[in-house]
């Protein structure tokens, strides 16, 4: 096997330059360089497709709200929750119409979408309790929710101890061998993760929360804290 080409050379090839014969031969035989080249080509394609962005500056109240939040303790709530009723995202005139009930329905349907495009409200497809492996203590639960934008896995637990690392959520295949990471339980008690329906269809149904170390090892540590199987 010839020596790996310089990253600059791979990048130039990804940008359309014809590789020298030696480089071309190497790329045909070296999986690692071919993988790198493919990733660089994808990125170049993304760059070619990008549009200029107008960056919007958040108003000063946002940072002020964060500072207030920092002062109030370890788990501060934002100043205003988006759950709080008022539909602020509607233009005022339409908010008025919304108050008029039926009219809003008719108006909304006419203005924005034909009835066939309406997505269903989020729907819980399956859920399971999450229990410790040794003594089956229930410490949390996981739900699979179908939302208009795709499947989500919502995990909530009692505060779990990440030790010196962090908590990672996995979907383990019912074959007991294969598994995929779905994300990090950032605050050690809850998280919502996008998951693909195809994955669940292939048997990845066992929700597992493990304790991982900051060791750059992407594989499961083997240190599972809780687990539960979704009956899909």
């Amino acid at each position: 096997m010839s020596v790996h080409p310089d990253p600059d050379v791979l990048a130039a090839v990804a940008l359309g330059e014809h590789p020298a014969p030696g480089v071309e031969r190497h790329l045909a035989n070296c999986r690692s360089c071919a993988t790198d080249l493919a990733a660089l080509r994808r990125l170049a394609a993304d760059l070619s497709a990008m549009e200029a962005a107008e960056w919007l500056e958040p108003p000063a109240t946002v940072w002020a709200g964060i500072q207030r939040g920092l002062g109030t303790g370890p788990a501060p709530a934002p100043a205003v929750s988006p759950a709080a009723g008022r539909p602020r995202w509607l233009p005022l005139a339409l908010a008025g119409a919304a108050a008029a009930g039926v009219l809003a329905g008719v108006l909304g349907a006419r203005l924005w979408t034909p009835a066939t495009e309406q997505a269903p409200a989020p729907q819980v497809m399956a859920s399971t309790s999450l229990a410790t492996l040794d003594d089956q203590r229930v410490l949390g639960e996981a739900s699979l929710v179908r939302t208009p934008t795709g499947m989500e896995l919502a995990v909530t637990t009692e505060p779990l101890d990440p030790g010196s690392g962090f908590l990672e959520v996995w979907l383990i295949n019912t074959d007991g061998v294969r598994m995929v990471s779905v994300g990090v339980l950032a605050d050690n008690t809850s998280g919502v993760f996008s998951v693909s329906e195809a994955l669940l269809g292939q048997g990845y149904r066992i929700v597992d929360v493990s304790r991982e170390l900051f060791d750059d090892q992407p594989t499961h540590s083997g240190d599972s804290l809780v687990r539960g199987e979704l009956a899909v």
Partner: protein, 179 residues
């Protein structure tokens, strides 16, 4: 591999945030709040909801700081990841609020993950050091030829090509981590 001071600065910033520095949070806000807020405004089409989401993202980053990996790419990726979840939550709240009819076209029009990824990429290009930023912007946003870029920036064509190649490697490291 060329030295990347920005990568080291980001790694240090993540490390400082992880150990509880409020200054580090302020610096992260200074660097990435425009990205997060813009993603939120364009996904939610509501300034008020976008303000809430932006606030929640940085507060969540603070409360979850212990879980942050101190690598150069971890912090922006993590912030964008939290933003996606909060945006999805906000959209879900709208549905639960019985405003399905009104909310549907927005969801259909702005598929949040793609938008977030695209904006994160543009943001990285916008924060590249000069003249690399101008070279990439002219090449990719304005479809200029290498020769045009060379003429307008008064650089040799070979230098333009080298900025494009190294810019690509640079962005890959920032977006995907040091693989």
């Amino acid at each position: 591999m060329e030295p990347d001071g920005e990568a080291e600065a980001r790694r240090l910033l993540a490390e400082r945030l992880r150990t509880g520095s409020a200054d580090a949070l302020a610096e992260a806000f200074e660097r990435w709040s425009r990205l997060i807020y813009t993603i939120a405004v364009r996904s939610l089409e509501s300034a008020a909801d976008a303000e809430d989401v932006t606030q929640q993202v940085f507060l969540a980053a603070w409360t979850g700081r212990h879980t942050l990996r101190p690598t150069p790419d971890a912090l922006p990726r993590w912030l964008v990841g939290i933003a996606r979840h909060r945006i999805a939550d906000t959209l879900a709240q709208r549905y639960r609020g019985g405003r399905v009819l009104e909310a549907v076209p927005e969801v259909a029009a702005t598929s949040a993950p793609d938008l977030a990824e695209r904006l994160a990429l543009v943001h990285e290009v916008d924060t590249l050091p000069e003249p690399r930023r101008s070279v990439l912007t002219m090449a990719y946003l304005h479809d200029c030829t290498h020769e045009e870029i060379a003429r307008r920036l008064d650089l040799p064509v070979g230098t333009v090509k080298s900025h494009l190649a190294r810019g690509l490697l640079h962005l890959r490291r920032r977006l995907e981590g040091s693989e």
